[in-house]
């Protein structure tokens, strides 16, 4: 009891001192370690999340995603909607109003012309902009007056929140980047390393792939923020070393992306200097079932293509049995601990899109056996099932990664119990995810029967993600093996519903359609076998206050609110 009172007193004290010191630059320095070091401060020239996160302390978009996946205005005064007239009724344009009185860190005013310039900067055909996909389908971006911006689309857009929403597409200062458009963009070292922004910090020093030094932006719109006078982003090491620097040695206040085994983290946390927390976005560890035949006897250009259905996995009973035999809770406990949740969904969030599909969460070995028996797969002399001369032997591949190899071993044992023989293969991650059309071992080529990896989508609109599972997105020789429909799932009904969704505006209706599409891929067909809904974990010191993890946007999205507690 006394301890509790004392603790409450301490908490009050901390809160009061925190409040009393709500002033800019009084909390000294905050040290952030990112084990992949930032190599630029311009997110338009890099797809690396390390660079996007670093830049987000300086550059701001019109709106950001908050931790539950919803939108919040940043440089915009409000989020446009059909109700407030921001989104045109024909869905072909969106009008943003800027917050009045905004100034850049060099003291000049922020105008809609800066935003329009940024759009032109990225859409310049000679530029090779890394975020071009976010500007996909934009017809023109024009500044109507200094505070009003209109983005027009070539076709109706039910969800227009792509460009200038989220840390990937912040607003650049026209005056600074005027000479850096097109082919000149990568050469503007000074501009790309020290962009002038509107965010809580400004760059004072940039050492590529080593460290970024920042100080509080004197022109930041909230006069009491940020609480820290300086921010240091240091790169180097690996996930374990970064977590150790925060949790065991206390040299750093915050470590990005500390994906480690649960008991490793628990051991580090035992020091009491800090903790690891996970933010849940849309990342799901899943198994793709190959519905096409990967047999090496086929000609190279026909392996794993729609021409040849899979001799074993075309049988829905086999796919269902494989899914039923997996104990997802155990996988989660072993691989991710608190940074994971068992799931049956491809789209686990946002809430309006997450299906209530939970039937797969209980492992059912007996049920899986019965299913295979019923489908005519009978155990042979060595316990492995056979049917029509096909032995239930499957090649299961994934990337080289300690957790994934543990998962492979566990799943192999469960499948052994239902009479399925599994051959395991692990591929070097740089090859597996490399996307090289000449390599036989990429996840797109899928020269295996099953493969496991994690996938997610950016922003909080799952529609493009679901659209990637359409029949026209199957990887094959005609598109240099670049599709994302890895399972080679082809269902006219799915494609029809997708087309219908792209014409639907009502969020509730869109969510319902999304859930239906998700269920078609997972529960109904077992073309995709989801395993674990994964969080992205970060470690932070107990003395660092104000941290709110956010998996939908940059981890530094609220760095202005960070402060020192104690």
């Amino acid at each position: 009891m006394r301890i509790k009172v004392l603790l409450m007193g301490a908490a009050c004290g901390a809160a009061m001192t925190g409040m009393a010191r709500a002033e800019r630059g009084v909390d000294g320095q905050v040290n952030v370690i990112m084990w992949q070091a930032p190599s630029t401060m311009n997110p338009y020239l890099s797809t690396g999340s390390k660079d996007i996160i670093a830049a987000s302390a300086v550059l701001e978009p019109l709106a950001v995603f908050v931790p539950d996946g919803a939108l919040a205005p940043r440089l915009a005064a409000e989020i446009p909607s059909v109700a407030n007239g921001g989104i045109a009724t024909d869905l072909r344009s969106v009008t943003w109003k800027l917050r009045p009185g905004l100034i850049w860190s060099d003291g000049s005013p922020v105008t809609a012309a800066d935003v329009a310039f940024t759009a032109a900067y990225c859409m310049d055909p000679a530029g090779g902009c890394a975020q071009l996909a976010k500007f996909d389908g934009i017809d023109k971006v024009e500044a109507l007056d200094p505070l009003t911006l209109r983005i027009s689309f070539a076709t109706p857009r039910p969800d227009p929140f792509s460009a200038f929403v989220g840390a990937q597409t912040p607003v650049l200062q026209q005056a600074q980047f005027r000479g850096c458009t097109g082919a000149a963009a990568p050469g503007c070292t000074q501009q790309n390393f020290q962009p002038i922004g509107t965010g809580p910090f400004r760059v004072t020093g940039f050492r590529t792939n080593d460290a970024v030094l920042l100080e509080a932006n004197p022109a930041y719109r909230d006069p009491d923020k940020p609480a820290f006078a300086t921010l240091v982003l240091k790169g180097g090491g690996d996930a374990a070393a970064a977590a150790r620097a925060v949790l065991e040695t206390g040299e750093y206040d915050y470590a990005w992306n500390t994906q480690l085994a649960p008991d490793v983290i628990a051991g580090m946390e035992a020091k009491g200097l800090g903790r690891v927390e996970a933010a849940f976005g849309s990342l799901v560890e899943l198994i793709h079932v190959n519905l096409s035949d990967p047999s090496p006897d086929l000609p190279e250009a026909e392996r794993s293509t729609l021409k040849h259905p899979h001799p074993i996995l075309s049988d829905p009973a086999v796919r269902r049995a494989l899914s039923l035999a997996i104990d997802r809770s155990l996988l989660t406990d072993i691989g991710y601990g608190p940074a994971g949740q068992p799931t049956c969904n491809l789209v686990p969030a946002p809430a309006a899109w997450a299906s209530d599909n939970t039937a797969c969460l209980t492992q059912d070995i007996a049920g899986a056996r019965a299913l295979l028996d019923g489908a005519g797969w009978v155990p042979g002399s060595d316990g492995i099932r056979e049917k029509d001369g096909h032995r239930l032997h499957l090649l299961f591949q994934t990337s080289v990664n300690a957790v994934r190899q543990d998962f492979q071993a566990l799943i192999k044992q469960w499948w052994q119990e239902i009479g399925v023989e599994t051959e395991l293969k692990s591929v070097d991650p740089s090859v597996f995810f490399g996307g090289d059309a000449g390599s036989p071992d990429t996840f797109q080529k899928f020269h295996a029967d099953l493969e496991m990896f994690a996938n997610n989508f950016e922003g909080s609109n799952p529609e493009p993600y679901l659209a990637r599972q359409g029949c026209d997105k199957v990887p094959g020789p005609d598109n240099q093996w670049q599709g994302e429909n890895i399972s080679r799932y082809c269902n006219p009904e799915y494609d029809r519903l997708l087309a219908e969704m792209s014409q639907t505006v009502d969020p509730a209706e869109r969510g319902a359609m999304g859930r239906r599409l998700n269920d078609m891929l997972t529960r109904d067909s077992d073309a995709i076998i989801p395993l674990v809904y994964r969080g992205t974990s970060s470690a932070y010191a107990n003395t660092l206050g104000g941290v709110v993890l956010n998996a939908w946007d940059s981890e530094l999205w609220n760095v202005a609110d960070w402060h020192r507690t104690r």
Binding site: G267, P296, I334, D406, L424, K425, D428
Partner: protein
Amino acid sequence: MAERASLWQRLRPQRGAMIGLWVLALLVVFVLLGPWLWRIAPTHIDIRARNQGLSWAHPLGTDQLGRDMMARLMAGGRISLAVAMAVMPITLGLGGLVGLLAGYFRRLDGVLMRLTELFLALPLLPLLLLMVTLFREPLARHLGPPGGSFVLIVLAIGLTSWMAVARILRGEVLALKERGFIEAARAIGTRPGAMLWRHVLPNVASPVVVAATLGMATAITTESALSFLGLGFPPDYPTLGRLLHDAMDQMQQYPLRALLPGLMIAVTVLAVNAVGEGLREALDPRSGSR
């Protein structure tokens, strides 16, 4: 027979070599006979018994999935030793051939030694990785996944580790060529083939034996390095390098899991080296006075 006996007699007094032999014999017994006595399968997962320390049920503990460490070490050691044994004839054959020819025939010397240098200069690991990527699938198709990997790794290591043998042999042959009995044999018209077989080969046998044992040690470490990188054998095949790889993440909590396979690699390599060193001493006529 008499010669062999004398080799044994020369080897006996060398403590290092005898210790190495004993350790090697114990290791062979452990990995070959062990599985007959210790019947737990190395890949059997008992998830309730994960991360256990030393106990009667699991004398060397269990790993992060509850697989028995002793059974895994036996299986891993067996693969490592098998790879080493299989690599040896390849390095001996290739290296011996190149070394003999280069040393004996002056015309071939330049070409073959440049070839040897070329192979020495090749970055070994990237080359091995490339071979694994290119040939794993066709070999696995014809010989089954473990068999295919075994052949692939043995060939890959063998084809990239014969250079030392070739260089040693060439030097020996060059020196031997000037000796009186060779000149005498040549004078009576012995053909090159017979010359190599009858007169040269028996006289360079001792450095070859030594090079072979040392090559075995290299093969063990190379195989472990490949497995450690997650390549080589399929992931469910416990090899010593794979065991090390699996133990890496939790090295601080469970140091024993990394120490045991690491120690086994080190002990095997040291024992093989000690035997090789002893053989060199025993076979060297100049050290006969010891």
